[in-house]
């Protein structure tokens, strides 16, 4: 084909030109004026999302001044200053899915020995069979099957199922007086994640992304990991990490538990890296020509850049989650390769690699859906909690040690919490279990800005209800935001005519656990 040969050199010249692989400020077309961008941004928050990426590349430094680079209107993921200085800048939330039994873990109740076998109504007449979920399986009060021993200098009494985590008792701040509004998994999960027991509200991670922005330009700023052992997802699934009415840029990215963790990262099988690069160069060359005739359209430049970011993500994301790059002793520390906890060890190690690379918020769900597939120990509380503690104890302990050793623990807030607690009575059956308890749960914080070795609030003598210094989920959330330097009353988003907040109209910061 003679025509082909004649044309090919034009292609060769073009492909060899450095201008085809980079947009440089000099050769770039007239970029929109600062004012133009600001004004246009007012018309639609999302449209200039990627201008921030151009900023990252230094491409807009000439037109957008520093004072505006942090503008959320220009870039929803731009790093934001907190409302006040705070130590923690990142979060890893170990989500204890299904609802852990506080009296069998961290909330030591010696009085249960005394009350063992007695009716809970003798203790608290307000108890109804419908307080839990299974009204016809109500047993007597039941002592914990686990031994408690004092741990750390603070001497916190901790159940024997947490030998590793217990090592860090002096870094933890316990809340024993948490309570929630629902005794059913999905509304309670929604409430723990979004503040309300209903669908359609943004989760804590999304609020934090909105409040602080993302420090990573080639990784998703908010990552969620769920059970990789085929035991399902937390009830209510993706709504637990959704952005609801906040812009979609703030929603959690679910790292898929099986197969490639992020969708569409792998290029088509028959293509080499070089070939995909050529394809991207072709797209870029044609797009730039199109943009040249429409220089005022910032979105077009942003979209051109989005291909470059996508290209980088294809390398950066697999690298971030590739724990095989970690040395042997780190694998051993977390328990990678141990049958009991391999999966969770990998997830905790991944979480550390993510926060190291600037990921803002990581949530790892321990357990799949309900019953014996998660901490939802309706049957055999001893077996259930031994198993799930076994899956998580060493990895979480290792995560805290590892972060501390790298100097990252001060900046990283670790949260251990699930959607509710469990009743101190037995749920009758072949092996006794425990039923849902919305009236009381225990959670702990560790790391950034947390006063270690402290305990806040008390449940009643048997752990049935939160009694002293009660902490509602809204208070819990207010405290998380506070530890990140965000005032829960000022972090608002106007939606549907209302200044929406994570904490609704409530919320109280628990200053006692703040260092």
């Amino acid at each position: 084909m003679p025509e082909l040969r004649r044309l090919a050199p034009a292609y060769a010249t073009w492909i060899a030109s450095p201008a085809t692989t980079m947009i440089t400020p000099q050769q770039n077309h007239r970029l929109p004026s600062r004012r133009e961008m600001l004004q246009r941004a007012g018309g639609g928050l999302g449209m200039l999302g990627l201008i921030g990426l151009l900023n990252d590349e230094g491409l807009l430094a000439t037109v957008a001044q520093a004072d505006e680079l942090g503008s959320r209107a220009l870039n929803p993921l731009a790093v934001q200053s907190p409302h006040y200085p705070a130590k923690a800048t990142r979060v890893i939330w170990i989500y204890i899915n299904g609802g852990p039994s506080h009296v069998d873990t961290w909330d030591y109740k010696p009085a249960l020995e005394k009350w063992d076998g007695k009716s809970i109504r003798d203790f608290d007449a307000s108890f109804k069979n419908t307080t839990g979920f299974f009204a016809n399986q109500v047993g007597g009060l039941m002592k914990s099957p686990f031994k408690f021993t004092p741990r750390g200098e603070c001497g916190k009494m901790i159940a024997e199922i947490f030998p590793h985590m217990g090592e860090h008792a002096d870094k933890m701040a316990f809340i024993h007086s948490g309570y929630t509004d629902s005794n059913n998994h999905s509304p309670a999960l929604f409430q723990m994640n979004t503040g309300r027991p209903r669908m359609g509200f943004p989760c804590v991670g999304s609020w934090v992304m909105y409040g602080l922005g993302s420090e990573s330009s080639n990784l998703p700023g908010f990552c969620v990991m769920s059970d990789p052992k085929g035991r399902g997802l937390p009830k209510g699934h993706a709504a637990n990490w959704g952005a609801a009415f906040l812009p979609g840029a703030y929603q959690g990215t679910h790292l898929r538990p099986k197969g490639p963790p992020i969708d569409n990262l792998a290029r088509p099988v028959h293509m080499t890296v070089a070939q995909q690069r050529s394809q991207l160069d072709l797209i870029k060359a044609l797009n730039e020509k199109h943009h040249a005739a429409r220089a005022a359209e910032a979105e077009l430049a942003a979209r051109i850049e989005s291909f470059e970011l996508a290209y980088r993500m294809q390398t950066a994301a697999p690298d971030a989650i590739d724990i095989e790059r970690e040395p042997q002793h780190i694998h051993q520390l977390y328990g990678v390769g141990e049958e009991r906890c391999d999966h969770f060890a990998r997830q905790c190690l991944t979480a550390r690699r993510l926060v190291e690379r600037g990921v803002r918020f990581v949530q790892i769900y321990s357990g799949g859906m309900e019953n014996q597939r998660s901490w939802d120990g309706h049957k055999d509380i001893e077996g259930n909690h031994s198993q799930f503690a076994g899956e998580t104890d060493q990895p979480v302990g290792a995560l805290i040690s590892d972060l501390a050793q790298r100097g990252l623990l001060d900046e990283t807030l670790i949260i251990w919490a699930g959607e509710f607690g469990r009743l101190p009575i037995a749920q009758t059956g072949e092996k006794p279990g425990r039923d849902h308890n919305p009236h009381c749960f225990t959670a702990w914080f560790a790391g950034g800005g947390v006063k270690g070795g402290t305990t806040y609030g008390e449940s009643d003598e048997v752990g049935y209800k939160a009694a002293v210094d009660r902490v509602h989920i809204n208070d819990f959330h207010a405290t998380i935001l506070h530890l990140l330097g965000l005032d829960h009353k000022r972090l608002t988003y106007l939606y549907s005519g209302l200044d929406m907040r994570l904490t609704g109209v409530a919320g109280r910061v628990i200053h006692d656990i703040v260092a």
């Binding site: 639609g44 979609g248 969708d263 979209r303």
Partner: protein
């Protein structure tokens, strides 16, 4: 005690206490300790100091302090207690003598210990043991609407210009001229036809259609093009989808099980057909709000009431009563925003912060819906709350008559306007393919002809009802009172929703027509005359061209609330036909946001239009309409994101999967990643103006996804079939299909070079590879690159 004139301080406290309230206050059951504390400490103290003036016998300042509901409701200056917030509570303010105008008890200050008891009690969240038997007397206030409130622009009646010279262009030009600006030149014909196709059908024009239009010298070329597109069945699919955004259409309930709402698809098909048949908008509204209460109830009008059933539904709520009000609140909020363009849901818990809508107004509006039976688990039997049998003989007969009338009308149209033959034939054959109504429709039913009472709920809490209210329209919009029937004609419902529907759909409702024509403008220009299409209140934007808005609204009403003529009116204007290029430097500086419409806006296609266009260009698009929905293939990884992996996601055949995106089954907990990533809104809340984000995962989808690999391969096959083996011909065909033009010589050179180089590489990679296979890979890679062009996903 709070009966005196409120001081500035008290007003501030009142605002603080209601300001951010977006949440239902739910009194928690007191713990035994709290109950003890209350009975031993708090109640005796209240009885001793307060009940004389604020108890059962006397209510100074309309306040009583002997029930929690009454305390939360407060007196004339506001709630006496804000639970957990002693500093924001008037009660604490009064007993601490902070304000000389409000010192209680008036004779002597309580002891520090007593004050501390009250403070601790408020801090605890005001626990109140026992049943709150007192029905509190929240005196329904006079409407409290002032003339000033009514003067707000959107609450005023339409004031359309009577000038003979009034036109879209005249209004736009007037403002441009006032600033020394002018219209941009008209867009090129190729750009215009793409703009028209995407705006009206959401699909790209075929190369043949482009040629025909570009070469049509007749002065009616543009007009005829618009007519053809409006007559095509794809119009309803495009514009129906816009409506589905506004009413947050979904086909499942959400929450844990996220079960299907059977028959919800009928509502989607109803909407598409309503747009295609140019159903008058006022009738469209009436059918959705009160299709079961109209003089003539049809299968269609019953399906329309599926409107009420689209929201999330909690199948095992903790508090069934509260859940019922959650559902009703969802209906009130959606109706307010979608039809009236006002955000009203604030009124659920407190007075509207910005607009003159009181909490009573909210519950008076809710009262129209109060008798609705709550959605229940699917039960297709007579007496079902959620389903209605639409297979009856009279329904079938009505349907036949209506279809024949539609077809006859279309045939008449063809006779007069032969240029529409093709489009109308397609529409007629579509109508002929419809089957008569049968089975069950997702629909509304009421509890019966006798209305359930509606009470104001203090702080939005179903457990603390206040005074009963009667249905009433929003007083800021009208002084008219609803004339409530004894019951609906068929005796099955109260007939109240029809009364509300008639008020909303009336020509003199100041909002309805304005809001709707603004939506049309929004979708035609990428920005409304009012930039906040579902908020015409104080927090919303003001109209950029108020006279134009009123003129359009009045014209819309005068034209019988018909949409198609409005589309045409807008699209025939010079304003619409302008180029989108920002070549006018002066205008770009003066009005970078283009609020004055000195150019058309360049716009990115929405998720559906991107996917549909890819299918259209690859040649795989299956135009079949209607039905339950399609299930695009999802990877096991995506399916695993559900708590019951894969549950409720069926398999569709490849042909079915290639249908238009409006037919993708809308499952709340499993949105299709491609749609989601390109900003399709969550179906849980209405979205009147989609966001356009540009994020890397979009690029990853268009480069690497299985869907794109399939489509690029189909596109390449198509090129081989239609353009043969010659690269230049293939590339030309590809450009004409994807971006409606020929490539420039430079583009052609680059693309040919790319093909050649890639073919070589593939041959090198696999030593024995067939030249054929390498050529195909190269062509597929080029096809995918073309589907990734900005020119493909942006419309000039």
């Amino acid at each position: 005690m709070f009966g005196r004139l409120p001081t500035i301080g008290a007003i501030l406290v009142l605002l603080a206490s209601t300001g951010l309230a977006d949440e239902v206050f739910k009194p928690t059951k007191p713990t035994p300790e709290q109950a003890k504390f209350f009975e031993n400490e708090v109640r005796p103290l209240l009885a001793k100091h307060c009940y004389e003036c604020h108890g059962e016998d006397e209510q100074e300042g309309e306040l009583r302090l002997d029930s929690l509901a009454a305390i939360l409701n407060g007196g004339t200056v506001g709630p006496a207690v804000v639970p957990k917030k002693p500093d924001a509570s008037l009660l604490i303010k009064a007993v601490t003598f902070q304000d000389p105008n409000m010192e209680m008890p008036p004779d002597r200050k309580m002891s520090a210990r007593e004050i501390d008891v009250l403070r601790r009690w408020v801090q605890m969240g005001a626990p109140w043991p026992g049943v709150d038997k007192v029905t509190i007397s929240r005196k329904a206030k006079a409407t409290g609407i002032t003339d000033e409130d009514r003067e707000f622009w959107s609450f005023q009646p339409l004031k359309p210009s009577k000038s003979d010279d009034a036109s879209i262009d005249a209004f736009i030009a007037k403002q441009l001229e006032a600033r020394g600006l002018a219209f941009s030149p008209p867009a090129a014909r190729r750009e215009l036809i793409r703009r028209a196709y995407f705006d009206l059908t959401g699909l790209p024009p075929s190369p043949e259609a482009v040629d025909a239009f570009v070469n049509d010298d007749s002065p009616q070329a543009w007009e005829h093009l618009i007519d053809r597109l409006l007559a095509s069945p794809q119009y309803g699919e495009r514009w129906g989808r816009h409506w589905l955004d506004i009413v947050r259409f979904a086909q499942t309930n959400g929450y844990e099980r996220d079960d299907e709402k059977p028959e919800a698809w009928r509502y989607r098909d109803y909407v598409i057909e309503a747009f295609n048949s140019d159903k008058p908008y006022n009738q469209f509204l009436m059918e959705q709000l009160a299709g079961d209460e109209l003089d003539e109830v049809t299968a269609e009008s019953i399906i329309a009431t599926g409107y009420y059933r689209l929201g999330v539904w909690d199948d095992e709520p903790d508090d069934a009563r509260q859940a019922e009000f959650d559902d009703l609140a969802d209906v009130v909020a959606t109706t307010g925003e979608a039809l009236l363009g006002i955000t009203i849901n604030c009124g659920r818990c407190h007075e509207h912060k910005f607009d003159p809508i009181s909490q009573e107004d909210y519950y008076r509006l809710l009262a129209f819906f109060r008798n609705i039976r709550r959605y229940e688990k699917p039960n297709k039997k007579p007496g079902s709350a959620t389903f209605t049998d639409i297979g009856g003989e009279h329904f079938v007969q009505q349907w036949q008559e209506s279809r024949e009338a539609k077809i006859a009308q279309l045939q008449q149209q063809v006779a007069v306007r032969p240029h529409l033959k093709e489009a109308i034939d397609a529409r007629i054959s579509q109508l002929q393919s419809h089957s008569p109504p049968s089975g069950w429709a997702l629909s509304i039913t009421e509890r019966g002809p006798k209305p359930v009472a509606t009470n104001v709920l203090i702080r939005g809490n179903a457990g603390t009802p206040g005074d009963e209210v009667q249905p009433a329209f929003l007083p800021v919009l009208t002084t008219e009172s609803p004339k409530l029937p004894e019951q609906a004609a068929d005796g099955k419902s109260t007939g109240r929703r029809r009364v509300l529907a008639e008020w909303i759909a009336a020509a003199d409702n100041p909002l309805t027509a304005r809001v709707f024509v603004n939506r049309l403008w929004h979708y035609h220009f990428g920005r409304g005359i009012v930039a906040s299409p579902s908020d015409f209140g104080h927090t919303g934007s003001r109209p950029s061209h108020p006279e134009l808005l009123d003129w359009l609204a009045a014209d819309f009403i005068a034209g019988g609330w018909k949409l198609k003529r409005m589309h045409k009116l807008i699209m025939m204007s010079r304003a619409y036909r302008q180029s989108s290029r920002a070549t006018n430097v002066k205008a770009a500086e003066a009005d970078p946001d283009n609020a004055l419409v000195w150019r058309q806006n360049m716009r990115r296609l929405e998720a559906e239009a991107i996917r549909d266009s890819i299918l259209a260009v690859s040649g795989k698009l299956n135009p079949a309409m209607g039905g339950r929905g399609i299930f695009p293939a999802l990877s096991p990884e995506v399916l695993s994101t559900q708590s019951r992996p894969g549950a409720g996601w069926d398999k569709s055949s490849p042909e079915e999967r290639s249908r238009r995106s409006v037919y993708i089954f809308v499952k709340r907990t499993l949105t299709v990643p491609m749609m989601d990533t390109f900003d399709q809104p969550t179906p849980d809340t209405p979205d009147p103006a989609r966001k356009t984000t540009t994020i890397a995962p979009q690029a990853l989808i268009l480069l690497n996804s299985a869907f794109m690999n399939e489509q690029a391969s189909a596109f390449a096959e198509r090129l081989l079939n239609e353009a043969g083996n010659e690269p230049a011909a293939q590339i030309e065909r590809a450009y004409r299909l994807a971006v409606s033009r020929k490539p420039t010589s430079r583009e052609l050179a680059i693309a040919i070079g790319y093909l050649q180089q890639q073919q070589q590489r593939w041959q090198e990679l696999a030593e024995n590879a067939e030249a054929d296979q390498a050529q195909r890979h190269a062509l597929q890679a080029l096809c995918k690159a073309i589907l990734n062009l900005n020119e493909f996903v942006y419309v000039d």
